[in-house]
């Protein structure tokens, strides 16, 4: 059983996180690079262009890539310091197996043989679907595509899903319902000419920092900014109208806006008649959403709701953006559709300066969700249960329909099935569910029940610590490939250095595993990322996410190509829906009624405070990478709980006090950060840390019925001031390390803490 082989302290001593503070050779090395490689950042869906400086097969620093059109040299601090992962002492260099004495290096061949034996044993005994694959969308398009094909034809399991399930999957489902396609409707260039920008549930400044400049450029030309968020984020601080609504009430607000748009006759009736369907039913569902009703549900003043409707309704151009705030809910898809309803009602889409987008969170959150990486999907964003779609993919893959598994379980449901003993074995790559899934005590129990866990990882993540076999994987800058940014722009990732030791790109490990499983005939032609991409092009052809006309050379020559791009002479499609033509067979967009319903957990006498979770600018997702970079840890070493002064006073809590935050799942003790930039009835915890520092000890496994996304953004909690000696030792250790890193600034040789 996959219990930890050593104590957490012993694991930390061996595998980190340690902090890398300086480039190889130290700051004074004054090294001239051998080459400079123009590629992209590995963090977040904006996929900023960056040039990596390389010397002796090590990334020694970066240069801004000013020619790349999206970010023109701009980078957030994660991008600036990302190069410190490369020569990191925590890198895994050999295959390892877990023994009673901890992880020990294992001969690669033996590790492969053991893995194959275990997969075959489990599948023969319990059935093919008893072995699952969980993967992630920090992977390139090529690796994402291969993960889908490997699960279906390599392992023959239907149980494949990905960590996009915790990201933008509600947006994807909502977009498919409304538009028949899942992609940002516009490139970010259309933000610049918008008269009104509506940002909802998106901490743009911290989670998509470069987008801030697009918004400000529009504001310099007179645009008004509306920000909807329970917290006053760094962008919200300057908004023309901030709407700090109660967590979980988003579609009550948007329904209320729709109601007012109709009442004040600010609907583009011609557009609605000619290009959409479902308007009347949708409006009827919002009929009772008067400003007074909306105010009661959302906790916003009726006058503010009216002002927002006025600003939105009277504008001639606009851009609406949302992110996890509205999507991480048990009605994530409804929230998304209610936003789209607002956009469609004004007809401001498919034209210059009129746009709509989800801000995809993960590095390849867009491309990674298009090519069969999901439990219900085949390449080209095809449906695994659609007979025509299956037939086409079978023809591309050279398999029979019987060989192609049907729809499987989603990420949380896979973990539930592991916990229930139905799934016995797991391959986990590019995913750290122990930190990122809700209810982490449950996740730990599930991992401990696995008969066999194999991980591919470059650092030993908290999940990989439970693995039986670990294969060392390659970093972003150690492989070629493509990814697709939040805008829908397909871009080229370039290999800057060779992977260290025995580390290999995930695709190469998967191909070898497939061959050893006797499924080589479907995979052996994949000798490079380019070979995988060439098959992806064919497999996506004719699907909505059509990459058929995209080549590596074309991407490089144009600094990115927007899909759909069906033929090689097609220039790509930066703006979707021009002329009011949508992707449904009748060409019409769909209004979807979104009657309001409460979150699955609400506050009560026992748990009277709303809890919401999210990210900070210094860390990425489960922190496997960023918690190892000195500068980033120095800025934000550990989580905290943001509490409004009024709530703090009521609970007798002062700045820095130890606070126990408890929900029905569990409790953690964190320092209080008393700030008036949050609703008095709500607290916030960033989620990037493991174990007793994990916000996901508190969150619930409540899922959206359609997207199966967990409700990270709404829980009910209780706050209790407690003694400082209850701070977890992990927190004190991080604090110590950050202080040490800070004091070393200025006198840094090559240093690792």
């Amino acid at each position: 059983m996959a219990h930890l082989p050593l104590t957490p302290d012993q694991l930390r001593a061996q595998f980190g996180p340690h902090l890398n503070l300086a480039p190889p050779g130290g700051w004074d090395a004054q090294t001239q690079p051998d080459k400079v490689v123009a590629t992209h950042c590995c963090f977040c869906g904006q996929q900023c262009g960056i040039k990596l400086k390389v010397k002796d097969n090590a990334v020694i620093g970066f240069e801004p890539w000013e020619e790349f059109p999206f970010n023109q040299g701009k980078l957030c601090p994660k991008g600036v310091k990302r190069y410190l992962q490369g020569g990191h002492p925590d890198r895994l260099l050999h295959a390892m197996q877990r023994t009673d004495a901890g992880f020990v290096p294992m001969d690669w061949n033996q590790a492969m043989e053991r893995t194959v034996t275990e997969i075959q044993r489990i599948q023969e005994r319990f059935g093919k679907d008893a072995f699952a694959l969980l993967s992630g969308v920090s992977l390139s398009n090529e690796k994402s595509y291969l993960s889908g094909k490997f699960a279906r034809l390599g392992l023959g399991t239907r149980n494949l899903d990905y960590n996009g399930r915790l990201c933008m999957v509600s947006a994807g489902a909502g977009n498919k319902k409304a538009f028949g396609v899942d992609r940002a409707a516009n490139s970010w260039a259309d933000i610049l000419g918008a008269e009104v920008i509506w940002v909802t549930g998106a901490n743009v400044a911290e989670c998509a920092p470069i987008t801030t400049d697009y918004i400000w450029k529009a504001r310099d030309r007179g645009a008004k900014l509306i920000v909807v968020d329970p917290r006053i984020t760094p962008l919200g601080r300057t908004a023309d109208l901030a709407l700090p609504l109660k967590p979980g009430t988003d579609c009550a607000l948007t329904n209320g806006i729709l109601h007012l748009l109709d009442k004040w006759d600010l609907i583009d009736r011609d557009f609605v008649r000619e290009h959409t369907s479902g308007f009347d039913e949708t409006l009827a569902a919002a009929r009772t959403c008067t400003p007074e009703w909306t105010s009661r549900i959302t906790g916003l003043p009726a006058a503010a709701i009216e002002k927002a409707a006025r600003l939105w309704g009277e504008a001639k151009t606009s851009f609406l953006m949302h992110a996890r705030g509205i999507e991480h809910q048990s009605k994530g898809v409804e929230n998304v559709n209610s936003c789209i309803n607002m956009v469609l009602a004004t007809g401001r889409i498919g034209r210059p300066d009129c746009g709509y987008a989800t801000i995809t969170g993960q590095g390849n959150g867009q491309g990674g969700r298009e090519h069969g990486h999901k439990c219900d999907q085949l390449p080209g964003n095809r449906d695994i249960e659609n007979p025509e779609h299956r037939k086409y993919i079978c023809s591309v893959w050279g398999c029979t329909d019987a060989e192609l598994p049907r729809k499987g379980l989603s990420a949380q449901e896979i973990m539930n099935a592991i916990h229930a003993g139905e799934i016995k074995g797991l391959l986990c790559l590019c995913f750290n569910p122990l930190v990122s899934l809700p209810d982490s005590s449950f996740t730990r129990e599930a991992l401990e029940k696995l008969e066999f866990l194999v991980s591919f990882d470059f650092f030993l993540s908290e999940t990989a610590q439970h693995a039986d076999i670990v294969f060392p994987a390659a970093l972003h800058e150690e492989d070629e490939g493509t990814s697709t940014s939040a805008e829908g722009r397909v871009i080229r990732l370039r290999k800057a250095v060779e992977p260290p030791g025995e580390a290999r790109p995930d695709w190469a490990i998967m191909v070898e595993l497939a061959r050893r499983l006797g499924r080589g005939r479907f995979f052996e032609h994949f000798t490079s990322p380019r070979a995988i991409f060439e098959e992806l092009r064919v497999a996506s052809k004719g699907g909505t996410a059509d990459y058929a006309g995209i080549t590596y050379e074309k991407i490089e020559a144009n600094l990115g190509i927007f899909w759909p791009c069906p033929t090689e002479d097609h220039p790509g499609t930066p703006r979707l829906f021009e002329g009011g033509t949508f992707f449904h067979p009748d060409g019409r967009a769909r209004f979807i009624p979104t009657p309001w319903r409460p979150p699955m957990e609400t506050v009560d006498a026992e748990y009277p405070v709303w809890l919401t979770t999210g990210r900070v600018v210094f860390h990425y997702l489960s922190g496997t990478q960023t918690r190892r970079i000195g500068f980033l840890v120095e800025q934000c070493p550990h989580p905290y709980v943001e509490i409004h002064p009024r709530m703090a006073e009521r609970c007798g809590i002062r700045e820095g006090d130890a606070v126990e935050v408890a929900t029905r799942r569990g409790a953690i003790v964190l320092p209080a950060k008393v700030v008036s930039t949050i609703r008095p009835d709500t607290v916030f915890i960033p989620y990037h840390w493991p174990g007793p520092l994990s916000a996901n000890v508190l969150t619930a496994r409540n899922l959206d019925p359609v997207s199966r996304i967990p409700e990270f953004k709404v829980s009910a909690c209780r706050l209790t001031r407690t003694s400082a000696d209850r701070f977890p030792p992990e927190l004190l250790e991080l604090r110590r390390m950050a202080r040490m890193a800070s004091s070393l600034q200025g006198s840094i040789p090559e240093q690792v803490l």
């Binding site: 601090p77 600036v80 920092p209 504001r219 007179g222 760094p234 300057t238 500068f631 008036s676 930039t677």
Partner: protein, 193 residues
């Protein structure tokens, strides 16, 4: 030489507190791990407002005036440089005298370092590292004549420190630049207000 055409414009209103400027300053070729930018939370209890402080490059730099070792030089293009290593005695006069709080005496080096406008980059026509990476472009390096068209706020390059008028190469972006900005530098000049 850094082109006189190009100005450095600081707009705290746009600042999102991400510290990319602080992170990247250390990465500039000649800075070797030392960041010379200050990024402060102004009053986190009340607001998420943060403020970046980079050298304003005064026309008549107070740091240089206060330096007993004559270690701080201003080049003809208006850039005030870090202290000259052989001269600097790490006395911290510059730290104490600068009205903007810019210079830092690094204890390991026993030397004052400050923003040199990334001279290695700007003298070759590139932008300074911080203004290149700044996600919100709260730090902007751009031709002076273009800023009016680019931005709603206006550049201000004159500051009153008590009764002392300080003119700078770099600018703070403000809604109304007609009058010099009073910097209430604390009790020392309280009598002037």
């Amino acid at each position: 030489m850094v082109s006189e055409e190009y100005g450095f414009f600081i707009d705290p209103q746009r600042c999102i507190g991400c510290r990319s400027c602080v992170a990247s300053c250390a990465e500039c070729g000649t800075h070797r791990g030392h960041s010379m930018i200050h990024l402060d939370e102004l009053d986190r209890l009340a607001s998420t407002q943060t403020g970046p402080t980079v050298c304003m490059h005064c026309e008549d730099p107070i740091c240089a005036m206060s330096c007993p070792a004559d270690a701080i030089k201003r080049s003809e293009d208006g850039v005030v440089h870090a202290s000259q290593k052989p001269r600097c005695i790490a006395c911290q006069n510059c730290e104490l005298s600068c009205p903007f709080g810019v210079p830092i005496v690094f204890s390991g080096l026993e030397q004052m370092l400050k923003c040199d406008l990334c001279y290695d980059r700007t003298s070759l026509g590139q932008r300074p590292m911080c203004a290149t990476v700044c996600p919100s472009q709260a730090l902007l390096f751009a031709p002076r004549h273009e800023v009016g068209a680019m931005r709603a706020n206006r550049p201000l390059r004159e500051f009153l420190i008590g009764s002392l008028l300080v003119k700078t190469r770099n600018a703070i972006m403000v809604p109304d630049p007609e009058t010099p900005l009073h910097l209430n530098a604390g009790l020392l000049c309280a009598g002037d207000f």
